[in-house]
Each structure stands twice: as structure tokens, then as C-alpha cells.
């Protein structure tokens, strides 16, 4: 059973060493690939000097494109499972074992590392957005996903093919809603996440509004136009 950890990294020179060294040292059972998304800082240099397994994108294509590249890599080297974690160290690879177990036990296609399975959501503007998306998914699919924006997702082989090669399968909540309506099984496993220690997040304040608009449009409108396939 081969499992690949995909680490999309955009200007993560300060974090990437800690993240990858942790995987190499403590979780040698998993393979990993760092997808450098056209970083303008020393990310490439750090990875090269440390000899990490690196996939270099020549220009910045955004998180969705970086994840897609990583998933294509997983398919190319015939991995059974691929898990996406952030390059800033907020996801602990210790939980991957739980996620894999959950996937096998429930015969799930996607397992989300969720902050809110057993724990309650705190009140903040970010969580308000998360709740809004959860609600939209519940209205359109009848199913509950508690942590829709979690960046820690485990895919099986079937999903690797879909996410790697089809259009409009970005690693975003609207894809999850569409897949739920296609009969794909999505589970959640409780994980805890750390706040990022250095660098800046992909999702800046200005992008949040446009992000929310796109995701809600994707869930409430766009998905009904798409052709469903199992």
C-alpha cells in the first residue's frame, strides 16, 4: 500500500524544512513530494540543498494548480493514496494513519482531516464563512461536512484520477458538494491543527470575499449544470 504526502509550498522557505524533516524522520512509511509553486523566496534553494523530493513549477499557478500537479505525480508513480497537507506545518502527519484507517473501514473515497468532529467551532469571521459553506453543502446534498475548508484531505485511487485529470475538480468545498451528489463517500476524522509559525497564508483578507463568492456560486448554482458521473 503506497501513500504519498503532497506538500504544496508557495514562499514557505521558513517552514518547509521543519515540515519535511518531521516526515522523513518520524514517518518514513510515507513518501512525500514538495510542490514548489513558483516561489519567489528561497524555497527551491532550501529543498535542493536538503535533497528533498521536489516538483518544481516554473510559474506560480495557485494552490489548486499545485495540488493538481501533486496528484498527477501520485497517479504517475501509481500511488494508491494521496494526502494533501499544507507547507506551513499546521497539519500533523501523525493523523494520516487515522485517516487511512477510516478510509478503509468505511470504504470512503475522500477523508478530511477535520478540526470540528468532536470539538466545537469557535466564533470568528473565518468560522462564519466556514459555517455558511457547510450550510450550503447541507442544503444541496443533505449531508454534513463540518470542516469544509480543511486543507488536509486524503484521496483514494479513484479520486486521484478525477482530481488529477478533470476540469473543475479543484481542492475546494464546491467540488466536495458536487462529489457528494455524485454518490462519492466523504468522511471526516478529528485532527488538531497548529497555527502557522512563519510566512503568510494563501488566503489573504482581500481574497476571502472573492473566495466565498466563488465557492457559494459553485455549490448553489454551478454544480447543477455539471454532468454527474460516479
Amino acid at each position: 500500500m503506497k501513500c504519498l504526502i503532497i506538500i504544496p509550498a508557495y514562499n514557505e522557505a521558513d517552514n518547509i524544512e521543519k515540515v519535511v524533516d518531521n516526515i522523513i524522520k518520524n514517518y518514513p512509511q510515507y513518501d512525500y513530494v514538495v510542490v514548489n509553486d513558483g516561489s519567489t523566496d528561497a524555497t527551491r534553494k532550501v529543498c535542493k540543498t536538503r535533497g528533498y523530493n521536489l516538483l518544481e513549477l516554473p510559474v506560480n499557478v495557485g494552490l489548486a494548480g499545485a495540488v493538481k500537479s501533486g496528484i498527477k505525480y501520485a497517479n504517475y508513480y501509481q500511488y494508491e493514496y494521496a494526502v494533501q497537507i499544507d507547507g506551513d506545518g499546521q497539519h500533523d502527519p501523525a493523523y494520516i494513519a487515522d485517516m487511512l484507517e477510516e478510509m478503509k473501514r468505511n470504504d470512503a473515497d475522500i477523508v478530511i482531516g477535520s478540526r470540528f468532529v468532536d470539538e466545537k467551532k469557535p466564533f470568528s469571521s473565518r468560522m462564519f464563512g466556514s459555517n455558511l459553506i457547510s450550510l450550503a453543502i447541507w442544503i444541496t446534498t443533505g449531508k454534513k461536512i463540518r470542516d469544509v475548508t480543511s486543507g488536509m484531505r486524503l484521496f483514494n485511487k479513484k479520486m486521484i484520477k478525477k482530481f488529477g485529470y478533470q476540469m473543475n475538480y479543484g481542492p475546494e468545498p464546491d467540488t466536495l458538494a458536487f462529489l457528494l451528489n455524485c454518490g462519492v463517500k466523504i468522511c471526516e476524522v478529528q485532527v488538531s491543527m497548529q497555527e502557522r509559525t512563519a510566512g503568510t497564508s494563501y488566503l489573504t483578507m482581500g481574497r476571502s470575499i472573492s473566495y466565498m463568492m466563488h465557492v457559494l456560486y459553485g455549490i448553489l448554482v454551478f454544480q447543477w449544470f455539471r454532468k454527474r458521473e460516479r
Binding site: 478533470q166 473543475n168 456560486y217 449544470f225
Partner: protein
């Protein structure tokens, strides 16, 4: 607003929505790029179905003919599209220059490595 203009609006709205749905079903277009056309179709459909909206808005904006308000909306929509397309175009241009430069650098790097290996091989022989 003449019945002809209303019909034309409805036809254009229906056409743009049907066309975009067909593209989506065949997975030929990205989600981000459909928002504008679905929105435009929706706005034109509202203007065609409820002419009162145009009358009210024309009144409020001090435009004599409601038909002119419809044209104004269309100009605004097209203006927005041209603006975003121009921004996307300039970003793509920049990306493609970056990509060409990066590819050239990496090819050069690889070529140098191959040359070094060749030399090392020759020295061995």
C-alpha cells in the same frame, strides 16, 4: 420599452445561459469563467421580463428613455468584461515570459550537467 427590445433581451439571455450550460456539461469551461455569463444572462432576463425595473432605474438616474438604461447596463457589463480580460491578459503575458525564462535557465542547467558528465566519462576512458 418596445416588445421587440424585450424579446431581444430574453433571446440573448436564454442564448447565453443555454450556451454556458452546454459548455459546463461538456467540462469545457472553468467555474470562475462562468460566473460572469450566468450573471449577465440573469440580468438581461430580469430586464426583459420586468420592464418596470428599467423604467424605475431610468427615472432615478435621469435617463429619458428606459431603453437607454438597458444599453447603459450592457455597456457596463461589457466594460467590466474588457477590464477583467485585459488584466488577465497582462498577467498571462507576464507568466509566459517568466515561464520561458525559467525553462531556459533549467535547460541550460541540465545541458551543463550533461556536458560535465560527458567530460568525466572521457577523462575516465
Amino acid at each position: 420599452m418596445s416588445i421587440m427590445l424585450r424579446t431581444a433581451l430574453l433571446i440573448v439571455a436564454a442564448f447565453s445561459i443555454v450556451w454556458i450550460i452546454a459548455r459546463i456539461r461538456r467540462s469545457k469551461v472553468r467555474l470562475e469563467d462562468t460566473l460572469f455569463w450566468v450573471g449577465t444572462g440573469g440580468i438581461l432576463a430580469v430586464l426583459g421580463l420586468f420592464p418596470q425595473v428599467s423604467y424605475r432605474m431610468a427615472d432615478a438616474l435621469g435617463i429619458i428613455s428606459p431603453a437607454n438604461f438597458v444599453f447603459l447596463i450592457m455597456i457596463c457589463l461589457l466594460f467590466e468584461k474588457v477590464l477583467t480580460l485585459s488584466i488577465i491578459h497582462s498577467q498571462l503575458e507576464d507568466k509566459y515570459v517568466t515561464m520561458a525564462a525559467e525553462m531556459a535557465l533549467r535547460c541550460k542547467d541540465l545541458e551543463e550537467q550533461v556536458e560535465e558528465l560527458k567530460k568525466a566519462q572521457e577523462d575516465k576512458n
